[in-house]
């Protein structure tokens, strides 16, 4: 129990990840599926960010007021790239959803099974 509490940030990411996975699998609406995907993205980003946090750490900016310990800036850099990727994925997915709606008049996956 104590191990769970000290790693509460990781636990939260895993819970978020499962919520997102549930949304992708259980929801029929394509926009909701995409939202599930976004939740998973956030979960993974939060997980990696949490790994870079140092207790009581400062922002690693050199200058007169800088004193260690510093938080690790690398995960933030990685996640910045990850966010850009997630943004483009969402943009592409939304435009695909618009096209699907224009063609079939629905974005419910059960109704779309029929046209396939």
């Amino acid at each position: 129990m104590k191990a769970l509490w000290t790693n509460i940030d990781y636990v939260a990411s895993v819970v978020l990840l499962l919520i997102g996975l549930y949304a992708i699998m259980a929801k029929g609406n394509l926009v909701k599926k995409l939202m599930g995907l976004n939740i998973i993205e956030t979960a993974v980003f939060a997980f990696v960010m949490a790994a870079g946090i140092v207790d009581g750490g400062d922002a690693p900016i050199m200058g007169p007021g800088a004193n260690p310990p510093f938080a690790n800036p690398l995960p933030q850099g990685l996640i910045l790239t990850g966010i850009v990727v997630a943004f483009s994925t969402s943009a592409l997915a939304l435009s695909l959803i618009i096209r699907i709606y224009a063609r079939f008049g629905t974005i419910e996956s059960e109704e779309l099974w029929g046209v396939e």
Partner: protein, 494 residues
């Protein structure tokens, strides 16, 4: 001096070329094709020079901007990175094929973007093959995957967008799973460089490392479309324009396999985990993939759907070889990455020509096409014989090596499964060739169509010849990849 900068040419040219394509083709859409072909010729030149360098001097590294790791970005050129040669070969031929194909198959205003996406996809793949840093692995993976999702939807007809959306959701989940694994590995070791990782992973806790390995395996198996995770593949690969199918099926699914090879390189070197269980899972899934892919392919009437399911079978062969963890098995699997790319590109481009000329895509409609388009049909026949694995074609040697690997690893059952799978594959390709050559045409006007234009015919013929040549001179890639595999398996006494 300039010779040492080939890695930069390899990675930067396709990105710059892709960004410039819509500008260059602003007034005349058809210019985009020639521009893309020109850009990719430079990339192919770089790939050829680098492959030659790997061949003459063995493994080497390139530091971007001269900054050595751990600060700088390392590009690693070893025998597995030589897959850039096959990426460029298949990519270049597909682009040449597009010159004739894109005019009719793709809406005119989308043509510049089509070529830009092709360049991004192929360039991303080159980057994926040569990077020495697991985070750049993810970045290149996303470049090529995003380009791939858009390419599936680009024709905009039928269920293209739906197939692309399905592909996107599965692909994005797998990418995130890979990113999660990269995050875990970074927090365990504090490094993203593959060489460092192999050293530092040896003294971390096995449990979190196992979670990372599981997430990586899951991600790469979705990308490679191994059996239970293949559901996105058939629709996406059959609805995409044919040159895109050739690139997706021949190359993009191999990204998953290359990723697995990189992961195994790190894991075998670090010895952090006992991989027997993972290898067993891969072997079984591989064997099931072979059989299920073949069974699904048998009942398809749509020629491209059949080829798409055949890809699942072949990915099964590769994973079976990887899972055997014996020298012959892995050599067979890695060479099958190359050979399957050539064979499947030949088949998809050939099928694309048939569809382009006749307007039909069902086997029952394509009867008798062998008389109307003799060269294309002959090339498809060579590809079909090759993918079944009949000597002396390219498919034979890899399957033979994987079977030898199964015997070497004392797993006779899998050697039998492999032969059984080859028989099933034989059945449905015979069905295809039977329809082409021996059945009376169901549409008499099919006998009137001629061969496709030269830009479409030449790539198919080159690929068909390669299918034969790679069979006869098959020792060359096998002996080329051998030192890398022996090196990789050395820590476990393979």
């Amino acid at each position: 001096m300039y010779g040492t900068q080939w890695p930069v040419v390899l990675l930067v040219t396709p990105l710059v070329g892709a960004a410039l394509t819509p500008i260059i083709a602003r007034r005349r859409a058809q210019l985009a094709g020639y521009w893309a072909l020109f850009t990719f010729s430079i990339v192919s030149l770089a790939a050829a020079a680098l492959t030659y360098q790997i061949h003459t001097q063995g493994e080497f590294s390139y530091y971007m901007g001269g900054w050595a790791p751990p600060i700088g970005i390392e590009l690693r050129f070893d025998e597995f990175s030589a897959s850039i040669a096959v990426i460029c070969l298949v990519g270049w031929l597909s682009l040449l094929y597009c010159l004739g194909y894109a005019k009719h198959a793709i809406p005119e205003r989308r043509i510049p973007y089509f070529y830009a996406l092709m360049l991004l996809c192929l360039g991303g793949m080159n980057g994926f093959a040569v990077t020495g840093d697991i985070f750049n692995l993810f970045v290149f993976l996303e470049i090529l995957s995003l380009a791939g999702y858009a390419l599936v939807a680009i024709t905009g007809d039928g269920i293209a967008e739906l197939a692309a959306f399905k592909y996107l959701v599965m692909g994005a989940i797998s990418s995130l799973s890979i990113l999660l694994a990269i995050g875990i590995m970074y927090s365990l070791t504090g490094t993203l460089n593959m060489t460092d990782l192999a050293v530092r992973l040896s003294d971390v806790e096995p449990f979190p490392a196992a979670v990372a390995v599981a997430a990586l395996t899951l991600g790469f198996c979705v990308k490679a479309a191994l059996f239970p995770l293949h559901i996105w593949l058939p629709d996406a690969h059959s609805i995409a324009p044919s040159p895109v199918s050739a690139v997706l099926s021949g190359l993009v699914v191999k990204v998953g396999v290359l990723g697995m090879l990189r992961m195994f390189q790190i894991l075998y070197a670090s010895q952090v985990l006992d991989l027997t269980a993972l290898n067993n899972v891969l072997m079984w899934l591989g064997a099931i993939s072979i059989v299920m892919g073949a069974l699904f392919a048998m009942v398809q009437d749509d020629i491209k759907m059949m080829l798409a399911y055949s890809t699942i079978s072949n990915i099964g062969y590769i994973f079976l070889g990887l899972g055997l963890a014996s020298t012959y098995g892995i050599i067979g699997a890695s060479v099958h990455i190359f050979n399957h790319a050539i064979i499947k590109a030949c088949l998809f481009l050939g099928a694309g020509s048939l569809i382009h000329q006749t307007g039909y895509r069902k086997l029952s409609d394509l009867r008798g096409v062998g008389k109307a388009m003799p060269i294309t049909s002959a090339a498809i026949a060579v590809g079909a014989i090759s993918i079944v694995g009949i000597p002396p074609t390219a498919g034979f040697l890899c399957k033979w090596y994987i079977a030898l690997g199964a015997i070497e690893a004392d797993r006779l059952f899998f050697a039998v499964a492999l032969l059984f799978g080859a028989l099933l594959i034989f059945v449905y390709y015979i069905r295809m060739l039977n329809a082409f050559y021996f059945m009376p045409p169901s549409h008499p006007e099919i006998l009137e169509v001629g061969e496709a234009p030269l830009t479409m015919l030449i790539p198919i013929v080159i690929l068909a010849i390669l299918c034969l040549v790679m069979g006869i001179f098959g020792r060359i890639p096998l002996s080329f990849i051998e030192p890398a595999v022996i090196n990789m398996l050395a820590p476990i006494g393979g």
